[in-house]
């Protein structure tokens, strides 16, 4: 009994890390958004499984938020937005895919080493979840630093947040999980609306140092 519960949870959490890797090498925005939707699907499955095995019905609310918001609303909104902003054909090559993948592997190894070493006495399931969650968080950060486009930075942030939700649901009986996922949804809605309203395309859409200086008010 406990064998298959563990294996299934492990499968979903590991799947989340795998999908994070898939995001690393997407160079088209539409594809990236679709992979993110898949990321959210895997997260929903994982949380639903936790809700079922921990007999914690409130976690189904988190599942509902994840499905409605991250699988449907946000990806559809982002697809429309990039078409409106006219950046749907852009290809990003901020950092080479090879280096990014290698860095990603390093980060996963790091999170396994850190988390598995410090939690020898914890519940094995929570322990694995935590290690995978840290890997997803670090990969999300990696996506954010290797991309220059605002939309792909948002996606990096949302995948990072999926990792946090995975960690929070893996910690058995943690209070406020639902509230935290609501708070995050509000945060993300804010970001998406902000990007759309202010048409932020890239954080620094120029490598012109003079323009940077002007922005920082460093020019006389």
């Amino acid at each position: 009994m406990s064998g298959y519960i563990f294996d299934t949870a492990h499968l979903f959490a590991g799947g989340l890390v795998l999908v994070s890797f898939m995001m690393l090498y997407q160079d088209r925005l539409h594809a990236l958004i679709n992979v993110f939707a898949l990321h959210a699907v895997v997260l929903s499955l994982s949380v639903a499984w936790q809700a079922y095995t921990q007999a914690a019905p409130h976690l189904y609310v988190t599942v509902a938020i994840a499905v409605a918001f991250k699988v449907l609303v946000i990806p559809i909104a982002l697809h429309r937005m990039i078409r409106r902003l006219g950046i749907h054909r852009e290809i990003e090559t901020a950092v080479g895919i090879g280096q990014t993948m290698l860095a990603g592997m390093g980060l996963v190894a790091l999170s396994m080493m850190v988390m598995l070493r410090v939690t020898p006495e914890a519940d094995p399931l929570a322990r694995e979840d935590l290690a995978f969650a840290l890997a997803v968080i670090l990969l999300g950060l990696l996506i954010m630093v290797t991309r220059r486009n605002a939309v792909s930075q948002i996606i990096g942030f949302m995948s990072l947040e999926n990792g946090l939700i995975l960690a929070a649901t893996g910690a058995k009986g943690m209070p406020l999980v639902v509230e935290i996922s609501v708070a995050f949804s509000v945060l993300i809605a804010f970001i998406v609306i902000g990007v759309f309203l202010f048409r932020i395309r890239e954080r620094f859409d120029t490598v012109d140092v003079q323009a940077l200086d002007r922005f920082r008010g460093e020019r006389r």
């Binding site: 840290l134 968080i137 942030f157 902000g194 202010f198 008010g217």
Partner: protein, 481 residues
């Protein structure tokens, strides 16, 4: 002593109700004064906390430590609302903001105060996280309120870095819960700070260590510690000046308060790493880095933003050193920095308005063109640079002497940072205040009372600290370990 009302409800309820009302009040003048009134009520309720006994429920907590923060928060919040009433009217005249923006601005101001008060009062580490997120979000929107290219860039940068910081802090919070869960059991108790501190000695130290690293990096981003400070100067420079004052004077403190709470947890577990050295390191790096960076700044608000990084570094250093004396110095320095820096931003706000620029090169000879503003700035900068008899001098002196007795090498590095920053401040002040007069000589409609009040408090504190306040700070310093 019992009060006819519950101050906690007033402190949290007033900003919440005021935010809702301000969102529907159409006149910006009424809005501005209503904002002042709401802040005054919050301040009165915060002051009444001294009269009530300590209180701990699963969600809210009042103890010696957070009363200091709450009262400071309410006081600077109140004076900022007074300053903002005068400042914002000018922004309307100059056409940078519309009345609709102002309605939004006032409502957000109260939402931000609500978020900060909730973060300070929260006994639940999850609730504290949500409250800090709320306060961050509102300041992000306010930083971008001018909607210029620069303001939006600054808001976006603040948003992304702040969100990453806050995400790391949440991961740390989850780890603390994981460490607590085997000891205190599942459910709400595992996140209640007063329960955690009681049982923390039995927690798994390795898990706590990792948790603290995440929390320090996460909330440290919000404190503005180098090398996580990148959002801070932009956010200060591009937003409305009242928000710069509140960011420097209050929000950084709130984030530091969160770090302190977790430091107390770590310190109470004998097997966990000592949290002090990490904080000392980050603090020292911030002081020295910001001190050098001060020389290259050409924008006056950005200049003082770097000075805030320096001072947050000093405060973090003090709390990292620990011990009754250094903690006392840290608390005093935090109070003095909040008062002085917000006073400086008040005067800088008026200066930038009347001169129509924030570039240091275009602001010169202020004591001649605008004597009151100019001399306020001189006194403010003298105080923040740590010249006697300001309160900042006293706290820095205390910190340096107590550090010399325990770790001379660290003290030398700290003094070096302080002196370098001192040089930069005086060098800039010299031309800005006493140089060849430049730019507009138009009279200002500034309302000087908030700056005078802050500076008076800072200089009085440098000469005479009321014994009751000293006793109070000593008690808090003891409890900080």
């Amino acid at each position: 002593m019992t009060l006819p009302f519950d101050p906690l409800i007033v402190i949290l309820g007033t900003p919440a109700v005021a935010a809702a009302l301000l969102a529907v009040i159409p006149s910006y003048r009424v809005g501005a004064w209503f904002n002042v009134l709401a802040s005054l009520i919050t301040l009165a309720a915060a002051a009444s906390l001294f009269l009530v006994e300590q209180h701990a429920s699963p969600f809210l907590l009042i103890d010696d430590l957070n009363i200091v923060f709450i009262v400071l928060n309410a006081f600077v919040g109140f004076t900022t609302s007074v300053f903002s009433a005068g400042y914002i009217a000018h922004e309307l005249e100059s056409g940078r903001l519309t009345p609709a923006h102002l309605r939004f601005y006032h409502a957000l101001f109260q939402v931000m105060m609500f978020g900060m008060n909730l973060a300070l009062i929260a006994n639940n580490i999850g609730l504290m996280w949500v409250a800090i997120e709320l306060a961050t979000l509102t300041t992000v929107v306010m930083v971008g309120i001018y909607q210029t290219h620069e303001a939006i860039e600054a808001a976006w940068k603040y948003f992304i870095l702040g969100s990453v910081g806050i995400a790391l802090a949440l991961f740390g919070t989850i780890l603390v819960y994981m460490a607590a869960q085997p000891v205190v059991g599942e459910g709400l108790d595992g996140m209640v700070w007063t329960v955690l501190i009681k049982h923390v000695s039995k927690f798994d130290p390795a898990l706590l260590n990792v948790a603290f690293v995440f929390l320090l990096l996460g909330y440290g981003t919000k404190v503005g510690l180098a090398p996580l400070h990148a959002w801070l100067p932009d956010a200060h420079a591009e937003g409305p000046t009242p928000i710069s004052a509140v960011l420097s004077g209050l929000l950084l403190n709130v984030a530091l308060y969160a770090v302190l709470r977790f430091k107390l947890l770590l310190a109470a577990n004998p097997q966990a790493i000592a949290p002090g050295p990490l904080m000392v390191l980050l603090g020292l790096v911030s002081v020295i880095f910001a001190a050098f960076m001060l020389y290259r700044r050409r924008d006056i608000k950005r200049f003082f933003a770097y000075s805030s990084i320096e001072h947050m570094g000093i405060i973090t250093f003090a709390f990292g050193m620990g011990g009754p004396l250094a903690n006392f110095a840290g608390l005093l320095h935090m109070t003095m920095h909040s008062l002085t820096k917000s006073a400086i931003f008040y005067s800088v706000g008026h200066i930038a308005q009347v001169k129509g620029t924030q570039k240091i090169a275009d602001i010169s000879g202020l004591t001649e063109t605008h004597p009151v503003l100019g001399w306020t700035l001189v006194f403010g900068v003298a105080a923040i640079a740590g010249l006697p008899p300001s309160g900042v001098f006293m706290s820095e002196f205390l910190l340096v002497t107590s550090t010399f007795a325990r770790a001379p090498l660290l003290a030398i590095l700290l003094v070096l940072g302080l002196l370098i920053a001192f040089g930069a401040l005086l060098w800039r002040l010299h031309t800005v205040a006493f140089g060849e007069p430049m730019g507009s000589r138009a009279p200002t409609k500034a309302f000087y009372l908030p700056m005078f009040a802050h500076l008076a408090l800072v200089f009085i504190a440098g000469i005479f600290l009321p014994p009751a306040l000293v006793a109070w700070f000593q008690q808090v310093a003891q409890s900080l370990g």
